[in-house]
């Protein structure tokens, strides 16, 4: 895909590199299984990047390396100028499941990362900020509700707040809305775009849905399996802000087709 000048959500040129991966490889089982081979990737400030590929293409390995959960076998992983050697507070993460804890209220769940890192007193101080965040995601009034009483979408909104409370430099999103029904999912994706824009967040999304990747992303990393590697990085030059309506435009369809073609090629290798 040809790209005009890439813009961030506000329409300004994209910022400095935030997250850089350089020739990152990961092998398992005494170097017999190559999960990831020579992956190089740069996430710039305020950009939205998606990674897509069939199962076994190493995208979850990539995400775990970027989250500092597992070390790479080779290569450099640098976030905000510092190598990633473990979990960090400037990395925010969100999973397929909301993973809220039922013995804590929504707002207590949101300040949990602060409680873990800085203790109970700091968590208490962060409550006000948690309230503001809940306001941003449209959960005002649900602060003291237990997760059992939240719908799937509301639970994921809560976990978005929990991810944002530490003001991370990068958001790692592991198929965050794939457990929701399609209508809620579209709505949450648009919400995600709005929130990322308001927070000027740098986001990295793992997804199985080409449409979802195209509607949200500036860059789409298409991966192919065995060994997991990057096939191509596709730029999406649809204007911001994106709307669900854009999914019916020819440009959108072209990009989707192009990516599907890349994925099909990957399958036959």
């Amino acid at each position: 895909m040809n790209a005009a000048q890439t813009m961030d959500y506000a329409g300004a040129p994209l910022g400095a590199p935030v997250y850089e991966l350089n020739n990152v490889s990961k092998t398992y089982a005494r170097n017999l299984v190559v999960a990831l081979q020579d992956v190089s990737l740069t996430l710039r400030k305020g950009s939205f990047t998606s990674v897509i590929g069939s199962s076994g293409c190493g995208k979850s390995t990539l995400l775990k390396i970027m989250a500092g959960l597992i070390p790479p076998t080779r290569g450099r992983v640098v976030l905000q100028g510092r190598p990633v050697t473990g979990p960090r507070r400037d990395i925010g993460m969100m999973f397929q499941q909301a993973t809220l804890f039922p013995w804590k209220t929504a707002v207590e769940n949101i300040v949990l990362p602060i409680e873990i890192r800085d203790g109970k007193a700091a968590a208490k101080k962060a409550l006000e900020k948690a309230h503001d965040l809940m306001d941003v995601v449209g959960l005002k009034g649900f602060e003291n509700v237990y997760p059992n009483e939240l719908s799937g979408g509301m639970a994921q909104r809560t976990s978005i707040c929990r991810m944002l409370i530490t003001e991370p430099a990068v958001l790692l999103l592991d198929e965050p809305f794939s457990a929701l029904d399609e209508l809620s999912r579209d709505m949450m994706n648009m919400e995600l775009q709005r929130i990322c824009r308001e927070q000027e967040a740098t986001a990295f999304l793992v997804t199985h849905s080409i449409q979802e990747a195209v509607i949200l992303s500036d860059d789409i990393v298409v991966m192919k399996p065995r060994p997991g590697r990057i096939a191509e990085i596709v730029k999406v030059d649809l204007p911001r802000p994106r709307t669900l309506h854009m999914m019916t435009t020819p440009e959108f369809g072209e990009i989707v087709d192009y990516i599907r073609g890349l994925l099909d090629k990957g399958e036959n290798m």
Partner: protein
């Protein structure tokens, strides 16, 4: 049209309005207390019939009325602070101490087994091996080691109640899902934080299941200990009454004893409701 409809009698199909009356089973329309009373009446009635017809010797099975009379007698003795109250108090102490000991040991071992690889690999197999032994058979040993006082009964009661608590705790610690573990890792939580703030609360329902099974076992342990190791508890009263062929007394003592067991069980259930408030369990008769 489906088979179901074509099989219906014609008059139902065409002549009537299609009002779907959902059939309610009779038992669903009866309140629980009524159903329970029904079973009680049938049970006592059969019992009365069998005994008054002389089908069973009164030495083997007393009549309900005899049992009730004896219950009143025992009840009076208990209320007026007679010797039976002393015996009951001894048994209650054995149960409480035994349960407390079982919780302390069971919980610690459960954390060891559920949280550490060493515990899981090296300790768990032995626990399983001991658990499969008939634990009552250890009673003579406890008597030999600890004497005829309440210590040997506390030991047996605790011994029996410990294993379900170990298993419940270990299973509870394992019940946290992969996402929750990963989330705590990304938050940079220490092992201790992960255990206390996530694994333990997640496992509370299983831990309480273990406690409930333990609460039942501790009672059996205390009474068995008294049967086999003497002493001056309620079990001893039962043993003496049985040896005198005083079956109404045996019956009424057992019924009073069951109240103690029920109270302990209800205490655990009540605590569970207060502590694990988020876990909506199907509430049945078992949960008192």
């Amino acid at each position: 049209m489906t088979d179901v409809q074509s099989n219906r009698p014609a008059d139902q199909d065409e002549d009537q309005d299609t009002v779907w009356v959902q059939e309610v089973a009779f038992i669903d329309s009866v309140p629980r207390w009524m159903a329970m009373s029904f079973v009680f009446v049938v049970f006592v009635g059969t019992w009365q019939l069998v005994t008054s017809l002389g089908l069973v010797s009164p030495i083997i099975l007393p009549t309900p009325l005899e049992t009730l009379e004896d219950m009143i007698f025992v009840g009076k003795n208990l209320l007026t602070g007679g010797y039976m109250l002393g015996a009951l108090w001894i048994t209650i102490k054995e149960v409480i101490y035994g349960f407390a000991l079982a919780i302390a040991i069971g919980f610690s071992l459960g954390v060891l087994v559920g949280e550490t690889t060493f515990g899981e690999k090296a300790v768990m197999p032995y626990l399983v091996a001991i658990d499969t032994m008939p634990k009552v058979a250890f009673a003579p040993l406890f008597v030999a080691w600890l004497g005829f006082g309440i210590e040997s009964k506390v030991a047996l009661a605790a011994f029996i109640a410990t294993f379900p608590i170990v298993v419940g705790t270990a299973a509870g610690l394992h019940s946290a899902d992969e996402n929750a573990r990963m989330l705590f890792k990304t938050m940079g939580a220490s092992r201790m934080q992960t255990l206390i703030k996530m694994k333990l609360p997640t496992g509370l329902p299983q831990i309480f299941t273990g406690l409930k099974i333990g609460a039942v076992g501790v009672m059996a342990g205390a009474i068995t200990g008294e049967f086999l190791g003497g002493g001056r508890g309620f079990g001893e009263l039962i043993r003496v009454a049985a040896s005198q062929l005083n079956t109404p007394r045996v019956f009424s003592l057992i019924l009073y004893l069951s109240l103690v067991g029920l109270a302990l069980y209800a205490l655990v259930t009540w605590t569970q409701r207060k502590v694990v408030f988020w876990h909506k369990e199907r509430v049945g008769a078992y949960d008192a």
